[in-house]
């Protein structure tokens, strides 16, 4: 089992001086994930908070080879790099015993929405890459537009709450399930505040032969509108309310990694966040009910799948 002390001794592959917000959740994820492999790493990054904040020209916060091409094609970009690596290995230009790992990454905008077809193609073609989605539930880099990962009832700039609307009207898309349907060797959902679980999942993802996908909940004080110092607690609540269950699917077999001792009410998740503030008005009580009902249904289904 890895210890934090040992992880801290490893070299930072993402370094200080990046421009991410106070209390941002992205560095918490990458701090752990980038330590889950000791092999050289190539990263392709979709447009988004991480890309913009780490590479403000003429500087970069990356200590590894890193490439950005466009919003929609981080997965295709990393697939191309991986294909080239294989070709060069075949021709003897890269020594046979040298291993390089490949990571594609994007936020929920660049993964759930804009990059979905590129991601689907990469997974279907079976490239030996890992794709990590840091899901902060909105297009935070451009000011908080709704994405298909935005939860029901959240106020976003393109689904604002007011007298006529309770914010976003649709339930979020279940991307982890979509990726599971690609029948790839490894799919997992994780949270940065259960770092041991995240570390193990990232390690598995890098080690597995063929494509792997990680969906990680990402704190966003700017768009979720909570006090930034309370972020870690909030991410724990997301897991304990089963809003963001931790599970993995290895070769089609579901496994639940964490079962809360006592499943908390979604109100604990919703109350601290300003984006849900309007839901406590009388006329929007149905949204809270619907939210709880949906979470319960998904949790039941997940338990059923992991008991098969």
């Amino acid at each position: 089992m890895a210890k934090l002390k040992d992880l801290a001794k490893m070299e930072d592959r993402l370094v200080a001086g990046h421009g991410m917000c106070l209390g941002c959740g992205i560095p918490l994820i990458f701090k752990v994930v980038l330590r889950a492999t000791e092999d050289p790493l190539v990263i392709a990054n979709a447009t988004g908070c991480l890309e913009v904040c780490t590479t403000i020209f003429p500087r970069t916060a990356w200590n590894v080879t890193w490439v950005h091409s466009a919003f929609e094609n981080a997965a295709s970009t990393i697939a191309g790099v991986e294909a080239m690596y294989k070709a060069l290995k075949r021709r003897g230009k890269i020594p046979k015993d040298k291993t390089i790992k490949f990571l594609g990454t994007g936020g929920d905008g660049g993964t759930y929405d804009i990059g979905l077809q590129a991601l689907s193609g990469t997974m279907e073609r079976g490239h030996d890459v890992v794709y990590l989605c840091y899901d902060n539930n909105a297009y935070a880099n451009t000011g908080g537009q709704r994405s298909s990962a935005t939860p029901l009832g959240a106020s976003a700039t393109t689904s604002p709450a007011g007298t006529q609307s309770p914010g976003k009207l649709q339930w979020r898309k279940d991307l982890t399930k979509i990726l599971t349907a690609h029948n790839i060797p490894y799919v997992a959902q994780a949270s940065p505040t259960r770092w041991q679980d995240l570390y193990n999942k990232a390690k598995k993802a890098f080690e597995v032969e063929g494509p792997a996908f990680l969906n990680v909940l990402c704190l966003c004080p700017t768009e979720w509108k909570y006090e930034e110092s309370k972020g870690v607690e909030l991410a724990k609540i997301a897991v304990d309310t089963c809003v963001w269950p931790l599970y993995e699917v290895e070769n089609g077999k579901y496994k639940l990694n964490y079962k809360p001792k006592e499943k908390k009410s979604i109100l604990e998740w919703i109350k601290p966040q300003g984006r849900f503030r309007h839901l406590f008005r009388e006329e929007y009580a149905w949204v809270l009910e619907e939210f709880q009902k949906k979470v319960d249904e998904e949790w039941e289904e997940l338990q059923r799948l992991s008991s098969l």
């Binding site: 001086g17 990046h18 918490l28 020209f57 110092s229």
Partner: protein, 104 residues
């Protein structure tokens, strides 16, 4: 900083200086509050290191040694998550000063 023209820039604006963002001192964003490290209370759990978004926890060998104020933005997650019986990181008031900026 002198601006380079297209003649000097690398093709494709490739940045060959890995990790040169350390020149951006994000500590200049801090306003009002900063964390203070109290070594004798510290149980060396490394949670502050784990939960610091701006890589501002100083580690030497096996031990957390303090806070790097060049990068600390004062978000307070380290103090909030510090689990020692008596907190080893507390947020204290800091006199607001004008940013000094990078060292260029």
């Amino acid at each position: 900083m002198k601006k380079e023209t297209w003649k000097e820039l690398t093709i494709g604006t490739i940045n060959l200086e890995a990790g040169n963002s350390v020149q951006n001192l994000t500590g200049t964003w801090r306003s009002g509050h900063k964390p203070e490290f109290i070594e004798e209370h510290c149980i060396q759990c490394f949670f502050c290191w784990l939960y610091c978004p701006h890589f501002a926890i100083l580690v030497e060998g096996d031990e957390v040694k303090g806070i790097d104020y060049d990068y600390c933005t004062g978000c307070g997650m380290c103090a909030e998550e510090c689990p020692s019986k008596e907190k080893s990181i507390v947020m204290v008031k800091e006199e607001v000063k004008l940013a000094e900026g990078g060292t260029e």
